[in-house]
């Protein structure tokens, strides 16, 4: 029997198939054993769905996961995955600064300024603090271009430059926070994410931005592939590689800002990196990797969200956990495929 099995599994293709089936059977058996729990979880989830903020979070989260996964494929292959991480820290710094602006009042501004100017500045600050997302978006987009520029330069290595900027932004954020509001629940939420952080206007902004990201990615897919695979060739044959690099950085910045409220500053980059890496373990053409990264990302988000609701785990951490499990499973399959 063992001899037969070993002979049958000699061919590498078959070995992969065998392992895939074994894994699939294991998963199905496991699911069958826990069918009661799963049914309970789904019914619990059904209950949660009656809450408006959960529905919002599901909508925004699914869109962000999709965008992050698509961009992630290109970023990981171009060795730019650290940009996502750097940008999230910059986003944190910008958010805390935006919130701190809420403490600016007309009286706290220098007295030599005319009263009208002081009033105007205070009003602008108040409105920024009220809805910090647009402000953060602008800062992060600008930083994305800066990081892209730095990573292209050889004088200061790109990865060190990114680490420099991201830690500085994080430090700035912490300093600003401690000088104004102190480490409160809001700040904790920015760090580790919360599905409660979304206001109705945030949701609209997020949905529109995600749709823009998706549309641009699909329209420019052939060019994004060309630039990702071989920038020198693309540039030589007249593709404006720098423009598309900037497009990718811009879309990443937008995705990071939308996603970080829910996933948290510390975890958002996993949304960009994990699905692409998992997909690359198993699939070996660009289209399959892109599509499967998107599918993996959205499914991991939904499962993670469900776990987080039912077991009260922080959403971001739950989603990363599910992504990690998927990555490990896909790695096994990839090794088996040979």
């Amino acid at each position: 029997m063992a001899d037969l099995l070993s002979r049958w599994t000699k061919k590498p293709g078959r070995r992969g198939t065998a392992v895939l089936w074994a894994l699939l059977i294991l998963v199905v058996v496991w699911l069958l054993c826990h069918i009661r729990d799963i049914g309970w979880m789904i019914s619990e989830m059904g209950g949660y769905l009656s809450y408006k903020f959960i529905r919002r979070a599901l909508l925004v989260g699914a869109l962000v996961s999709l965008c992050a996964a698509l961009l992630g494929v290109s970023l990981v292959l171009k060795r730019y995955s650290m940009i996502g991480d750097g940008l999230s820290h910059v986003g944190f710094g910008a958010l805390t600064v935006a919130m701190a602006l809420g403490f600016v009042t007309a009286d706290s501004l220098p007295a030599f300024l005319p009263a009208a100017v002081r009033g105007g500045v205070a009003a602008v600050c108040a409105s920024v603090a009220e809805s910090p997302l647009p402000f953060t978006l602008v800062v992060v987009v600008l930083c994305a271009f800066l990081l892209l520029r730095l990573s292209g330069q050889s004088r200061m290595r790109g990865d060190s430059a990114i680490a420099l900027i991201s830690t500085s932004a994080l430090a700035l954020g912490v300093v600003v926070t401690s000088m104004t509001s102190g480490m409160n629940v809001d700040v904790y939420n920015y760090m580790f994410g919360s599905i409660l952080a979304m206001s109705a206007s945030d949701v609209w902004l997020s949905v529109i931005l995600s749709l823009v990201v998706l549309t641009l990615f699909i329209l420019y897919y052939p060019r994004i592939f060309a630039v990702t695979f071989d920038e020198a060739f693309a540039r030589a044959t007249g593709t404006r590689a720098k423009l598309y690099n900037r497009l990718i950085a811009l879309l990443t910045a937008v995705t990071v800002v939308i996603g970080m409220r829910m996933m948290g500053t510390l975890l958002i980059s996993s949304l960009i990196i994990f699905p692409a890496l998992s997909a690359m373990r198993v699939f070996d053409n660009f289209r399959a990797v892109t599509v499967s990264a998107a599918v993996i990302s959205v499914s991991c988000f939904l499962v993670g969200m469900m776990l987080s609701c039912v077991y009260s785990i922080p959403t971001g951490a739950g989603i990363v956990g599910v992504n990690l499990v998927v990555f490990l499973v896909f790695s096994c399959v990839g090794v088996a495929k040979g």
């Binding site: 592939f225 071989d230 030589a236």
Partner: protein, 233 residues
């Protein structure tokens, strides 16, 4: 009219002159090999011909229906490409991006061109295979097919046989000669494989920041053979 005409091209980076007053022309159907040591500026010269670096002075003129963005380029492979998940078909088709203009997606003509070039370089049988699983020689053939999608008349090859075993090297040279002789594609090759490159070349240029030599293969053989003899004597 030449496909590419370089006149007194000088290129410098941060004060260091990499290419010094080089003049060169490539005609239709030509096969030019640019030789030189590492750091002799031969790769920089090639990048200037592709419009990737701007010369400090001098002029580069494209003629005979050749557009600057229609040169088929075979770059040296990067580390990122070795484990890049892309099928052969996707890689070859990506050579058609410069024909898209304002279109967003590939059309039938692009796909047909990719198809024809895959057949020409005998990689159609790998079309669904992943680029990263191919051997070095096969990968170069795939990249050649992609380069041909981007051009109708001219290939620029940057050290195409680096890292290939002797067998694959010979095969690749045969393929390139075939493209030159049978399909009339002008070839410019940067190389430091002197013997192999000279087998099929029509013209030779030797770079050492400036242009040390520029002539036919026969002239090159005569002059450099003499030098070698004199040096020994």
């Amino acid at each position: 009219m030449a496909l590419i005409q370089l006149r007194d091209v000088t290129i410098a980076f941060e004060g260091t002159v990499a290419v010094d007053r080089v003049s060169l022309s490539v005609e239709k159907g030509d096969y030019l090999v640019v030789l030189g040591e590492n750091g002799s500026g031969k790769s920089t010269l090639m990048r200037a011909m592709l419009g990737l670096v701007k010369p400090r002075s001098g002029s580069i003129v494209y003629g005979d229906g050749l557009m600057k963005n229609q040169i088929g380029y075979l770059p040296q492979q990067t580390a990122a490409q070795r484990d890049f998940p892309a099928s052969v078909e996707e890689v070859v088709l990506s050579g058609c991006v410069n024909r898209m203009g304002t279109r967003f997606f590939f059309n039938k003509a692009d796909r047909a061109k990719a198809e024809a070039n895959m057949a020409l370089l005998d990689v159609t049988k790998f079309r669904k295979k992943s680029y990263r699983t191919l051997s070095g020689g096969q990968q170069q053939r795939v990249l050649l097919a992609r380069a041909l999608c981007a051009t109708d008349g001219m290939l620029l090859l940057d050290e195409p046989v680096t890292g290939l075993d002797p067998e694959a090297t010979r095969e690749l040279y045969d393929v390139i000669r075939d493209l030159n002789v049978r399909h009339g594609v002008a070839v410019v090759m940067v190389s430091h494989d002197v013997r192999g490159a000279l087998r099929d070349a029509k013209h030779v240029a030797v770079m050492d920041t400036g242009m040390d030599f520029n002539g036919t293969v026969e002239e090159y053989a005569a002059q450099y053979l003499n030098k070698a003899v004199k040096a020994r004597g």
